[in-house]
């Protein structure tokens, strides 16, 4: 069976200011722009690629280097690694929110057509992002519209997707609030009055209301205390299993990864260090970095 999402060679280099500065002509303030077209950074003279960096790419900090992965329908893939290992950048590259320097992110849509999210018209990408895909951010305030009511946040994708009846949009919003264990009487309240855990659940409802097939979760339980985290994980596990969602999840918490994901990809410095079935990777880590990671976990 063909995968739902297949990424090949995803690479993103964040150009460092120092590299940019040294690329500027230094003959004086009136020297003018460099000779080549400005929008092709690879034309700029660079300070020289670092040893591990592939040729033909701009100088700078590699956030992701030639990452490849596959996600099948109904499968949960966990991306684990320390802060700065490129997890979040990879997630943004997969959904096309950040443009890669190289590589593809091929998504097979509901009609069975293959779409490269890295190279699709923005109008189509946005349509996919609010219908077939979802993106839950670590900070719910980034993913929610804090100026409108909770109900409006959930109804937004339905309204944008062509729902022209108020009662249907509202009923769907109420049903989803109930599903994520938020009291329906809070439907018209501003999200500003919600607690952190409720906000994250609201964001999950907002992303699932349009019936997506693939959801990206960026540290969904980061910043929540453990009891709230446990409830949220429980909810997520039930929703994912019940809706047969495919999920790509980033976390630095190996326990979260073990609970939710079927397969795991360990990242370090923008590269894939190790990948495999969750239990296999966590119980019998092969790469030295994964061994370090698993042995660093605190236990009671």
């Amino acid at each position: 069976m063909k995968p739902l999402l297949a990424a090949h060679g995803l690479t993103k280099i964040f150009r460092s200011p120092s590299a940019e500065q040294s690329a500027e002509p230094t003959t004086g303030p009136l020297a003018g722009p460099p000779a080549g077209p400005l929008d092709r950074p690879s034309d700029w003279p660079a300070t020289g690629p670092s040893a591990e960096q592939p040729a033909g790419l701009p100088a700078g900090q590699p956030a992701c280097l030639e990452v490849a992965l596959e996600v099948h329908a109904g499968e949960v893939l966990g991306l684990v690694g320390e802060s700065g290992s490129g997890k979040s950048t990879l997630l943004n590259l997969l959904c096309g929110a950040v443009k890669a320097d190289a590589g593809q992110s091929l998504y097979r849509d509901a009609l069975g057509l293959e779409v490269d999210l890295q190279n699709v018209e923005e109008v189509d990408r946005r349509r996919l992002m609010r219908s077939e895909l979802g993106f839950v951010r670590q900070n719910p305030r980034d993913g929610l519209n804090m100026n409108v009511s909770a109900g409006a946040n959930v109804a937004e994708r339905l309204l944008a997707g062509g729902e022209r009846r108020y009662d249907r949009a509202r009923a769907a919003a109420a049903a989803w609030l109930e599903r994520v264990e938020i009291p329906v009487r809070r439907l018209d309240d501003s999200p500003e009055t919600y607690s952190g855990g409720m906000l994250q659940r609201l964001q999950i409802a907002k992303n699932l209301v349009a019936g997506p097939r693939l959801v990206f979760l960026d540290e969904p339980t980061g910043g929540l205390d453990v009891s709230v985290q446990a409830r949220l994980l429980d909810l997520l596990r039930n929703l994912v299993a019940g809706l047969r969602l495919a999920v790509v999840l980033t976390t630095h918490d190996l326990a979260v990864a073990r609970l939710l994901s079927h397969r795991i990809l360990v990242m370090k410095g923008g590269r894939t260090v190790e990948s495999g079935l969750t239990d296999q990777v966590l119980d019998d880590p092969q790469a030295p970095y994964t061994q370090l990671l698993t042995s660093s976990t605190l236990s009671l």
């Binding site: 109008v123 946005r126 519209n145 109804a155 937004e156 309204l159 108020y166």
Partner: protein
């Protein structure tokens, strides 16, 4: 019927239409506009049949709008306050606005001898269009006799020797602040709107880059969200003016702060509607016969304002009514906001 208000409604003897008399300074016009219009520049060349002919089979409205602009490119030498280069630039912007109905196109707004918020956008559009054969009507909230309307009319009477009128049916150009006349508009007429905030999404999304993207991608979920919030909070869509519309099934547009009562008059109107925002330096247009749909929900349909009262002066039941306070004892009277409409109805009962 209250005679005191009836008296207030009746304008003082209006000499602004007497072109030998300058009402601003209460004395006859001085040079050079006191000359009778014997040598008025002729109207421009006859409409070229080739113009936009490829669009003709399916869009007569666009063709009519382009022809109207084409016919108005003939004045010379600082006629109507602005220099010819400025007027040409505005007309070029209007061409683009007409070609993409509802889309805001930028123009380099000039300084006008009036503050922003007094109709600098509308005045520039009118100035770029006026030719000596035009009859100009200016209304402010429907009335011909309010300060803003009278000053703009006098401005063009002086700078363009324009023929002015208060009769909707006689006017070729109607500059308006926040109303559409009750008298149905005819083909060939041009409405010019003064627009304070051209961007309908501005209150919902402050970033210009983001609203531009939303327009480009025709993503108007944000406005639907605002309507949803209204119904959730107030039980109905709580907008009575500047009610957002979708033009030609494509662009979300602010109809300028006209009451939602006037929105239906925009839909497939035979007239050309041009919008000018002076402070924001934006132009947009609704060509003749273009669909203008007020956003709503199927279960909460668009409802223009309506009144239980009729006009206290002319008895009209189908016009937009202003409420006038008559005394300190709660005396009130509802009267037509369109003074021309009201006056003519009273004259011909």
């Amino acid at each position: 019927m209250t005679p005191s208000l009836e008296q207030a409604r009746r304008p003082a003897p209006d000499r602004s239409f007497d072109r030998s008399f300058d009402p601003l300074f209460d004395r006859p016009f001085d040079l050079p506009f006191d000359q009778p219009r014997t040598q008025a520049p002729p109207l421009g060349p006859a409409p070229r049949p080739a113009l936009a002919s490829s669009l003709e089979p399916h869009d007569g409205g666009l063709r009519a709008a382009l022809d109207a602009l084409d016919r108005r490119s003939s004045t010379t030498g600082g006629y109507a306050y602005l220099d010819e280069e400025a007027k040409r630039e505005i007309r070029r912007g209007l061409l683009k606005a007409v070609a993409v109905p509802g889309h805001q196109t930028p123009f380099s707004g000039r300084e006008m001898p009036m503050p922003y918020g007094w109709g600098t956008g509308g005045v520039q559009v009118t100035a770029s269009l006026l030719v000596p054969d035009d009859a100009l009507k200016v209304i402010d909230q429907g009335a011909d006799d309010t300060v803003n309307a009278v000053s703009i009319r006098v401005f063009f009477a002086r700078t363009a020797r324009a023929k002015t009128t208060t009769r909707t049916s006689e006017a070729t150009i109607i500059q308006t602040r926040h109303r559409i006349p009750e008298t149905p508009l005819a083909p060939g007429q041009i409405m010019v709107y003064q627009v304070p905030l051209p961007e309908p999404l501005r209150r919902l999304e402050p970033r210009e880059t983001e609203t531009a993207t939303l327009h480009a991608l025709a993503e108007y979920g944000l406005m639907r969200l605002k309507l949803y919030e209204d119904v959730a909070k107030h039980g109905d869509i709580a907008l009575s003016y500047d009610y957002p519309v979708l033009v030609g099934g494509r662009y979300l547009m602010s109809p300028s702060p006209i009451p939602s009562f006037d929105n239906p008059k925009l839909d497939r109107s035979p007239a050309l509607h041009l919008f000018g925002a002076g402070r924001e330096k934006r132009l947009y247009a609704v060509p003749p016969h273009t669909s203008v749909e007020s956003l709503d929900f199927e279960d909460f349909p668009f409802k223009p304002q309506s009144w239980a009262q009729v006009c206290g002066l002319c008895g009209a039941a189908d016009s937009y009514l202003d409420e006038a306070v008559l005394d300190d004892r709660g005396g009130r009277l509802f009267v037509c906001s369109d003074s021309d409409h009201c006056r003519r109805r009273r004259r011909t009962p």
